[in-house]
């Protein structure tokens, strides 16, 4: 191993040192090791691991677990913020309903997002716990962790943890003497961002092309192989053990009044800031606070705009930094919290070029099922490229506006294209002049002469 390799090798890492993380305030990260290595079962159990599971399975009925999660108002961390408890309460259960599946969405591919990776690599048991509790609540027969193929270290860590858990009786038959049977398999993907969309994920899990499915029926009614299925994000599931261990009220107060939502959130910052990274903070922390932790802009740079939670969220301006980073506040500002990992853009960055990059991503990752996304995105890219080269035509701005509108929510089959439309429409709103600058100046007769 040469030194460069060692220096360059990527390791997921939380910015907060151990001294700043506490069991009662940092449920997602207090157990993390300083060396960023994966926490094994022994260490995890030493650090009060599986207490929440034990409690859920032996002290509560499934519907009680759902009620607790509902009460805690754990909102989905996959991007949409849908309350996990409500989702669970809609899963079909009953005597003539077959037991279904619990699927962990670990397909993290949202541009600018690197939070699930850390949890998967370093805290696999926290996720497994969340899945056991989720499965118990939803009467799921079996679980899958749908992991993107590129997360190789996470695969190693999860595989080890699953074996440990199985050996220790946390997976398998009659878990913790509760009579509940459940096991988990790791499924690794083969690329494609769209696999993160929960219904496309199910098609991919079933070994099909990852086209999304229509909703309704929701996965809770008819999911993997037509059975009731719950799909939750890694971070969402990692929130669950703490809730069961400490209760809904405790979870609620974690945000410390900054937000109506409860709990903490893994926030991150990337882009042109001084100190990129990941932090566990009370949900509702403001952009300013987060930017401060990130040490502000890189020297010589000035903030122009930011994406609050991935490539599929709308651009916001510097003044929006004062907003609490929660689902509702960012929603009201015309964007989405998304994954809550900020992408920070400097004044020196051309917005047209950034948009071209983003839309190229969305165009390439379109599944090709519905027309607006399949055909509209490549066209968008071509127009942006023309503008970027200064070869745009005067009608291009209106065309982009129309494309952005056509790709909007409700008009495409799934939320992929609306995700692509958000940065586009917001960029046109805030930075129209940059687009206009890309329109080729018409040659005048005088110039020709």
């Amino acid at each position: 191993m040469n030194a460069t390799i060692d220096r360059l090798r990527y390791r997921s890492q939380l910015r907060q040192p151990a001294s700043e993380r506490h069991e009662d305030s940092h449920p997602l990260t207090w157990r993390l090791r300083e060396d960023n290595e994966s926490i094994d079962l022994a260490e995890y159990q030493r650090k009060n691991g599986y207490v929440g599971t034990q409690r859920a399975l032996t002290e509560h009925s499934a519907s009680e677990v759902i009620d607790i999660v509902k009460e805690a108002n754990v909102r989905g961390r996959g991007g949409a913020g849908f309350p996990a408890g409500v989702k669970w309460s809609l899963t079909l259960q009953g005597e003539d309903i077959p037991r279904g599946y619990l699927v962990c969405n670990a397909d993290e591919m949202e541009p600018g997002t690197f939070k699930d990776r850390m949890l998967l690599e370093q805290q696999p048991h926290l996720l497994i716990e969340g899945m056991i509790i989720g499965a118990y609540a939803n009467n799921s027969r079996f679980g899958y962790i749908f992991l993107r193929d590129e997360y190789r270290a996470a695969a190693v860590s999860i595989t080890r943890a699953l074996n440990e858990a199985r050996e220790a009786g946390w997976l398998g038959k009659n878990i913790a003497g509760s009579g509940f049977d459940f096991d988990i398999a790791l499924h690794t993907g083969a690329g494609r961002y769209i696999c993160g969309e929960e219904t496309a994920l199910l098609n991919s899990l079933e070994g099909h092309r990852a086209n999304p499915r229509d909703k309704p029926p929701f996965p809770g009614q008819s999911g993997a192989w037509g059975k009731p299925t719950v799909v939750n994000n890694v971070e969402t599931l990692c929130n669950v053990p703490g809730v069961l261990q400490h209760g809904a009220d405790w979870y609620q107060q974690l945000s410390g009044g900054r937000s109506d939502d409860g709990g903490t959130k893994l926030y991150g910052v990337s882009g042109q800031v001084e100190r990129t990274g990941l932090w566990e903070l009370p949900i509702g922390t403001t952009g300013e606070e987060l930017m401060a932790l990130a040490g502000g802009m890189q020297s010589g740079h000035e903030l122009k705009a930011w994406l609050p939670g991935g490539g599929s969220t709308g651009l916001l301006l510097p003044e929006h930094l004062e907003l609490p980073l929660d689902f509702d506040s960012i929603g009201k500002a015309g964007s989405r919290l998304g994954t809550g990992l900020l992408t920070v853009i400097s004044r020196q960055q051309s917005i047209v070029a950034l948009l071209r990059n983003l839309e190229q991503f969305f165009a390439r990752e379109s599944c090709g099922w519905c027309t607006p996304c399949r055909e509209g995105l490549p066209w968008t890219v071509k127009v942006l490229q023309a503008l970027e080269r200064g070869e745009g035509e005067p009608e291009d701005i209106e065309l982009l506006q129309q494309l952005g509108k056509g790709l909007g929510p409700g008009q495409t089959f799934c939320a992929h294209a609306p995700g692509a439309s958000m940065p586009l429409t917001s960029a046109l709103k805030y930075f129209r002049d940059e687009f206009e600058a890309g329109v080729a100046r018409p040659h005048t007769a005088v110039e020709e002469a």
Partner: protein, 912 residues
């Protein structure tokens, strides 16, 4: 019923439909692509967007896809809303980004749904200025052309091909804007229903290759409302003609029979009509074995001679000829001298089948009915080969379980992907018993490969399990009994069990066994059960209903010296009996008058050959396996473009022959007169008068146009013959006109529709305008009449239970029907010949091992016929002691014959 509001107007619609269908049914136009009435909605194309409002007070609304939204009571939508309209325009604009804009050279042009929808949305300006994405095309075999650049990615093709028809060699490949529909590698599409791609594809990706060779725009063809002559199902077809040739066959919607789909034999097997070796004028022998063409008068004179001087005349009819032609023959020769043209064994099967259809206790279902059954037993048939369109319906029946499950979960039945996901591979039970693998095994709960006798025994055992009063099968082995128990149990557990059998294996016992099950189910009060019995040819049912003696009887008359003259109508005896058998008859030198539209071996022997009209030039009536009498109408008048031809319906020739024989002048005769005469003289066929409107039927005083109103070049097309255009030929036989003049609309109910067209709908989607509800029945009533009448009294159980099959020193032969190459007329069409697999002798694996045989080794098959040499193929399904050959190889090979096999060394071995 639900009340919905569209742009402020109130409508009563079927609440179980989606909004798109509901609106289309109300005549409200919403453009669409991916939705198809037979395949439901998937919401992929996004073309059908409308604005939906939450309630009366909501004035903002939200765009929704109408195909994916239920037509719930109280729904409020706007189609005209600006935003919706703008979005729909965008969608078509996106679809056209990479479209080659090659309409002038595209074979879909003029009946293209994409063209129609482009016009409907008002998209007429191109803004995209960058490069187009292009694809390479594949060779998909003789039937289907492929031009992927025209694809708009609606996914209809794979949904039809895979989900609806069960094919698995067509797929969707790639991702993002690089989606490709094709095979995983070049090669012939394997599905028996591939031709429907040409209609479900809304653009010109999949086109009819048989049409390409002599292409004509839809608007430039003349159409005849016809009935497929290629098997006994009776699918309705629309045949298009130009310059005196049939150019293509399209589906003609019939709400009870084929609805939206045809099989490939029916669609692509028409080439025999266009063969240039057809007898186009009468021919006679000039002594010394030479033949020459005759004038009609001369031919009729000769016919009169022959008939007047005959010492006993026998008429041989045909199961591929119309009722009218058979009837007219019977009139000519007299009831006692008429043969159906069916060989004895086949006639026995057909007779048994009709008696069961009428007194077996269970009704005979239409294809639409079949799709509603919830358990199916198929005995001794492979419907995909012998009655393909029926097989497709059986598939839908079995998949019907999806709908039951979806209903339990409140998922609308039109939500196609959702119900597929929910049901996975849960299906209604299907059981098949056949000597070899069948096309339905893949969706069968269980299938058995048995010798015909054992299939019958299994059937008898099932009947006995259902009703102990049904005769028991003696010496029944345990496993057959278990199988019978299982089948009986599942049939009884179902609400609407369906029995399917037929004459393909030439076994009356199998039909009797099926009859016993029918009777047993009837006795158990399974009133909604059904019995569907497959016949071999288009009019097997009809000619049997007319009544007559089997073919062998006719030949025996000649051999016995009781007859010296044969009048043979549209029947190639060499396709039915061994050459040796016929040689013995012809050694008696009978005089032969042969009427046919094909140059058959029989016609070649004729003293007088009369050039008959094929279905394309003729009117007539066929009776399908379902007992449905259906009229087919002439597509074109052959003399218009080829004045030298003298093609007439056999019934017309025969009418003239009767006059000649009686030395009377030949009077005019019309179709209506023959139909009436046939109905009057045959009680069972009384109903056929009502199968179609008379020739004097008019709409607002107009006849019905055979050609679209845009028909062009009428004055020029005959210019090489005569620069002055003759008046269109009159059609005295039907309500149709050989012209674009006449009624061709959709809004006035009309019982015969030569081609579907409605304003704004040039593609086959226009059919939806002719229905009471989309996917339902034609507004003027589905054509045809049902002729079977189910008696109140159920006939008695049959006790004719055969002994179990035991393998002997020799082999039992079975001749298996096949879709391509197994039927006489379509086998004369080049694309069908190309599509037919080379014939092999199938040998059971265990037997092959015993004999040291491998695939491709040459075998000689000997028996009561001239030895036949064919390559072997090892079959994993065939019971030991049996061998099989496909139909259409040699008529000498008959089902059940005992044969010997020997391996012979030839230089070259054939790979199978």
């Amino acid at each position: 019923m639900a009340t919905i509001y569209v742009d402020g107007e109130q409508y009563q619609v079927n609440g179980s439909h989606n909004l798109l269908q509901a609106c289309l049914e109300m005549g409200l136009e919403i453009p669409y692509f991916c939705w198809h009435p037979a395949m439901g909605s998937v919401g992929a194309c996004r073309q059908c967007a409308v604005k939906q409002y939450k309630d009366e007070d909501d004035d903002k609304g939200m765009l929704v896809m109408s195909c994916m939204s239920p037509a719930k009571d109280g729904t409020r939508i706007s189609i005209a809303d600006d935003e919706a309209e703008e979005f729909r325009q965008s969608v078509i604009e996106w679809m056209m980004i990479s479209h080659p804009h090659d309409c002038p050279v595209c074979e879909e042009g003029g009946h293209c749904h994409l063209q129609d929808m482009t016009v409907m949305t008002g998209h007429d300006r191109r803004r995209y200025r960058f490069n187009k994405r292009t694809h390479r095309n594949q060779d998909l075999g003789p039937f289907i052309g492929h031009e992927m650049n025209r694809c708009i990615t609606c996914y209809r093709c794979v949904r039809f091909y895979r989900d609806y028809a069960g094919g698995d060699d067509l797929g969707a490949f790639g991702a993002n804007d690089n989606i490709y529909f094709g095979r995983y590698q070049d090669g012939t599409l394997e599905s028996e229903f591939s031709g429907n791609l040409t209609e479900v594809c809304p653009t010109g990706v999949f086109t009819d290759r048989t049409h390409s060779e002599r292409y004509t725009r839809k608007w430039d063809m003349q159409f005849g409302p016809s009935v497929c002559h290629q098997c006994s199902v009776g699918c309705n077809i629309s045949a298009g003609e130009r310059y005196g040739d049939v150019r293509r066959i399209e589906n003609r919607y019939h709400g009870e029979v084929n609805r939206y789909f045809l099989c490939d034999r029916g669609r692509f097997g028409y080439g025999y009509v266009n063969r240039d070796d057809r007898p186009l004028r009468p021919e006679g022998s000039d002594g010394g074995g030479t033949r020459r063409e005759l004038d009609v008068d001369e031919a009729l004179d000769r016919a009169g001679e022959l008939l007047r001087h005959a010492n006993g005349i026998v008429g041989i009819g045909s199961p591929r000829a119309s009722l009218e032609s058979n009837h007219q023959l019977k009139q000519l020769v007299g009831d006692d001298n008429f043969s159906t043209g069916l060989v004895g064994n086949e006639q026995a099967c057909v007779e048994r089948m009709r008696s069961l259809n009428e007194s077996g206790g269970l009704p005979t279902p239409s294809l639409r009915d079949i799709e509603r059954h919830d358990a199916v037993l198929v005995l001794g048939e492979d419907p995909i080969q012998s009655a393909a369109r029926l097989g497709l319906s059986i598939r839908q029946a079995v998949l019907g379980r999806r709908e039951e499950l979806a209903e339990e979960r409140g998922i609308p039945l039109w939500n196609a992907e959702a119900i597929k996901t929910l049901a996975q591979d849960k299906r209604y039970p299907l059981f098949t018993a056949y000597p070899q693998a069948t096309g339905l095994d893949g969706i069968a709960e269980q299938h058995w490969n048995l010798a015909p006798a054992d299939i019958a025994r299994l059937g008898f055992a099932v009947a006995h399990e259902i009703d102990p009063n049904a005769p028991a099968v003696t010496e029944l082995d345990v496993s057959t009994r278990e199988s019978a128990k299982l089948i009986a149990e599942k049939l009884l557990a179902a609400d609407r069990p369906l029995l399917v059998s037929g004459g393909s294996l030439g076994s009356v016992a199998i039909i009797e066994a099926c009859g016993n099950i029918a009777r047993a189910l009837a006795k158990c009060g399974k009133q909604d059960a059904g019995l569907s019995l497959i016949r071999r040819e288009a009019n097997s049912t009809g000619v049997e209903m007319l009544g007559g003696q089997p073919l062998e009887w006719a030949l025996d008359r000649v051999i016995a010296g009781e007859a010296d003259t044969l009048v043979i109508v549209e029947n190639d005896l060499y396709q039915r009996l061994a050459t040796e058998t016929l040689d013995a008859v012809f050694a008696k030198a009978p005089k032969l008058i042969v009427l046919d539209h094909q140059r058959t071996a029989t016609l070649e022997r004729a003293d007088l050959a009369l050039s008959s009209a094929s279905f394309a030039e003729a009117d007539g009536t066929l009776v399908s396996m379902e007992g449905r009498g259906q009229r087919f109408f002439q597509v074109y008048e052959p003399r218009h473009m080829r004045p030298e031809t003298r093609l007439h319906e056999s019934w017309r020739w025969l009418h003239a022959l009767a006059a000649e024989r009686d030395s009377e002048p030949v009077s005019d005769i019309t179709l209506d007169a023959v139909v009436r005469d046939c109905a009057e003289r045959n009680a069972t066929l009384e109903g056929i008068v009502d199968a179609a409107p008379d020739a004097d039927f008019r709409i607002s005083g107009q006849k019905l146009a055979r050609s679209p109103h845009r028909y062009s070049g009428r004055t020029a097309m005959r210019a090489h013959l005569d620069v002055s255009e003759p008046a269109p030929t009159r059609d005295p036989d039907s309500a149709l006109a050989f012209s674009m003049e006449g009624y061709s609309g959709f809004d006035r109910p009309r019982p015969v529709v030569p081609f579907a067209w409605a304003p704004g709908f040039n593609s086959p989607e226009a059919w939806n305008k002719f229905m009471d509800e989309i996917g339902g029945h034609l507004r003027a009533g589905d054509p045809g009449v049902r002729l079977f009448e189910l008696a109140n009294e159920t006939s008695n159980y049959s006790a004719a239970i055969p002994d179990a099959f035991v393998r002997g020193d020799d082999w039992q032969l079975t001749v298996l029907p096949r879709l391509f190459g197994g039927e006489e007329t379509s086998s004369r069409a080049a694309p069908i010949i190309e599509r037919s697999a080379p014939a092999h002798i199938a040998v059971a694996r265990a037997d092959a091992e015993r004999l040291g045989l491998g695939n491709g080794h040459w075998l000689s098959l000997t028996g009561q016929f001239q030895a036949l040499t064919l390559p072997a193929t090892i079959d994993d399904h065939l019971p030991e002691g049996m061998v099989s050959v496909p139909a259409g190889v040699d008529p000498a090979l008959i089902n059940g014959a005992r044969v010997s096999l020997s391996r012979i060394q030839l230089d070259e071995e054939v790979s199978s």
